[in-house]
């Protein structure tokens, strides 16, 4: 059939193909895997349409857990059930985890050397900058929609966890329902 329908009609990939695709995605993603996932799933393999990808991402972002791992679960299970989900998650996670453990092992052996210590120090300073940029990028659309209420929640979460160092479960269980309630009332 030459007419390509919406998602999944482009011949469902096997668990093996899913594993390999996510293996490549996991290893190519430096500082964030999502753009690579989009390229692999939408542009190169055409397993998902652009809309599919965005909706799947929206689902994965409203659930807890690493977003890209959630996404691999959704994509895998859609095409090949539980086996597909396991294949995707394993493919995504296994190689980066092995690699990061090798790096950590090297760091524990040579981390005391002046050069290595200084390189890791530089990395840490840059990582702080990345976290700052992520914060600003996430905050911008939220603050433009509801400056006062969202701003107060952002500050409250920051002060409670960042400055007062209160346990996250208590902070999340008190702030999240409050914030959702505010959003609910604003939406009506």
């Amino acid at each position: 059939m030459s007419v390509k329908l919406e998602t999944g009609e482009v011949q469902s990939p096997s668990a093996g193909a899913l594993f390999l695709a996510f293996l490549a995605v996991g290893l190519s993603g430096f500082g964030g895997v999502l753009p690579f996932a989009r390229r692999a799933l939408v542009e190169r393999r055409r397993w998902l349409t652009e809309t599919d990808f965005n909706e799947t991402l929206a689902l994965c972002q409203s659930l807890p857990g690493p977003n890209i791992v959630n996404m691999s679960v959704v994509v895998g299970s859609r095409f090949a059930g539980p086996r597909g989900a396991v294949a995707c998650v394993t493919g995504l996670v296994a190689a980066p985890v092995a690699l990061v453990l090798v790096l950590a092992e090297l760091w524990s052996r040579f981390g005391a050397l002046g050069q290595v210590r200084a390189a890791v120090g530089g990395l840490a300073a840059a990582a702080a900058g990345l976290a700052a940029a992520t914060t600003l990028k996430m905050a911008r659309p939220i603050l433009s929609r509801a400056p006062l209420s969202a701003g107060s929640i952002i500050i409250a979460a920051f002060v409670a966890v960042g400055l007062l160092r209160l346990p996250l479960p208590w902070v999340a269980l008190s702030l999240a329902p409050l914030s959702v309630l505010i959003a609910w009332r604003r939406g009506r």
């Binding site: 964030g32 990061v100 390189a119 940029a133 939406g187």
Partner: protein, 176 residues
């Protein structure tokens, strides 16, 4: 503490964090730090920051700081337990929710849920930033690296890898 106890603590802690990590793993980094450094004394503040930097520099999803916390606490077994506990619970939840997704995709409560959780996540990621800045920026030059990375990633579409590579390079050349 016996190894089994440590593994149990890792499993319990990361299972909770997995289910609290709305907006991704970066939101729960301050709690990982609190547990690993302040409560359990598995590592020092500086070691945590170094491991976070290593996790950022490696390719792959950004939850891998949890893998390294497990590794530091209990070696390879700890790394595997922490990774499985960080990913497993949220994967199961996602698997289950994805099947029912079409039914409530447009539901107003789902929009309120997403809109309400977002600012909490931003506050928590800001706390992650604060944690890292305090540990990493020990002098003016390191603070400049942070500022330059922030500006580059925020204002350009350059891959963050270049900033990380440049920072590590400057450090190893003795310029930081």
């Amino acid at each position: 503490m016996k190894v089994g106890d440590t593994l149990g603590a890792l499993a319990a802690q990361f299972t909770v964090l997995s289910l609290l990590a709305f907006g991704g793993a970066n939101a729960v980094v301050p709690e990982m730090h609190r547990q690993a450094v302040d409560v359990r004394h598995w590592m020092s503040d500086g070691e945590f920051t170094a491991l976070f930097a290593i996790a950022q520099a490696a390719p792959g999803p950004n939850f891998m700081i949890s893998t390294l916390v497990g590794w530091k606490a209990a070696g390879l077994a700890g790394a595997l337990v922490a990774t499985a506990a960080m990913c497993g619970p949220s994967c199961l939840l996602t698997y289950w929710v994805a099947k029912a997704w079409d039914r409530f995709r447009e539901a107003p409560w789902r929009r309120a849920l997403a809109a309400g959780l977002a600012p909490v996540t931003v506050g928590l990621v800001a706390a992650t930033f604060w944690l890292l800045v305090r540990a990493a920026d020990r002098d003016v030059r390191l603070a400049l690296v942070t500022a330059a990375t922030l500006a580059t990633t925020y204002f350009t579409r350059l891959s963050p890898l270049w900033c990380l590579a440049a920072a590590a390079g400057l450090g190893s050349l003795g310029l930081l």
